[in-house]
């Protein structure tokens, strides 16, 4: 998995490409923890190029959203591919998490 990082509208957008699985999820978790330690309040996970997510990835998404909320911030998820959307729906994530059609909408939205 590749992770890109950029700032839009004072939100950190993490662009995820490839597979977020038991092998790669730790990389994302460390990235999010570093951003939180640096004071990030709003993180947008751009999933437009994310082809696959397993429970290990869902776990990082969920714990990231919890940590951000506890820090007075928020997480958003953008541009879900059909495969990722299905896993989100099966896991109840589509109703629990903030989801946007694309990263621009997520950074424009009020956190």
């Amino acid at each position: 998995m590749d992770i890109t990082e950029n700032i839009q509208n004072s939100a950190t957008v993490l662009g995820l490409t490839g597979r977020l699985d038991g092998l790669t999820s730790g990389t994302l978790e460390r990235k999010v923890d570093a951003l939180l330690a640096g004071g990030a309040k709003r993180i947008v996970f751009d999933c437009g190029q994310l082809l696959y997510v397993s429970s290990a990835g869902l776990r990082v998404f969920l714990s990231s959203a919890k940590k951000l909320k506890a820090a007075g911030g928020s997480a958003a998820f953008a541009a879900l591919t059909p495969a990722v959307r299905e896993v989100f729906e099966l896991s109840g994530f589509t109703t629990m998490l903030e989801i946007h059609p694309d990263a621009a909408a997520a950074t424009a939205a009020k956190a």
Binding site: R19, D21, G22, L23, Y52, S54, S55, A56, L58, R59, L62, S63, A65, K66, K69, A83, E86, V87, L90, S91, G92, T95, M96, L97
Partner: protein, 144 residues
């Protein structure tokens, strides 16, 4: 691929094996030609089962090997079996996940087994000959 042909993969208890598992499932799917949703489901179900064994199966810090088999059980059904010699453990007994919980109340964890059950029609665990045998079956739609 005709029903009955069975593919076997031996894995070490190391997460670095996951790409080999993914390639194995892809190769099976290339031969069987299920729909894309079935391919993703098989990838996911097997990753969850195998990750459980790797992360929780062996407490001794030693290297171990275990096997995954994939079989087209009949024209519309794939049977996956994960067999390991770790301590007895039935993952299917995990309490269900509350998928309606709010972000604050939602527990982190348990989703792997949840997905395994949701993406299969049949999931069965047994301890046989000193081994954990987890059988997972999914009805598939073949595209050709």
């Amino acid at each position: 691929m005709t029903p009955d042909s069975r593919k076997i993969l031996t894995l070490r208890n190391d997460l670095a094996e996951l790409p080999r598992l993914a390639a194995f499932v892809d190769e099976f799917c290339d031969a069987v030609q299920p729909g894309e949703d079935d391919r993703m489901a098989l990838q996911l179900v097997l990753e969850e089962a195998v990750t459980n064994v790797i992360n929780h199966g062996y407490a001794d810090g030693q290297g171990h090997e275990f096997t995954v088999t994939l079989q087209l059980a009949d024209e519309g059904r794939v049977c996956a079996v994960v067999t390991d010699d770790a301590a007895p453990y039935d993952p299917l007994t995990r309490p269900p996940v509350d998928v309606e919980a709010s972000l604050e109340d939602r527990q982190v964890g348990g989703l792997g087994v949840h997905l395994m059950k949701r993406l299969t029609q049949h999931a069965h665990y047994e301890r046989r000959d000193g081994k954990n045998v987890l059988t997972l079956e999914r009805a598939i739609r073949r595209v050709s």
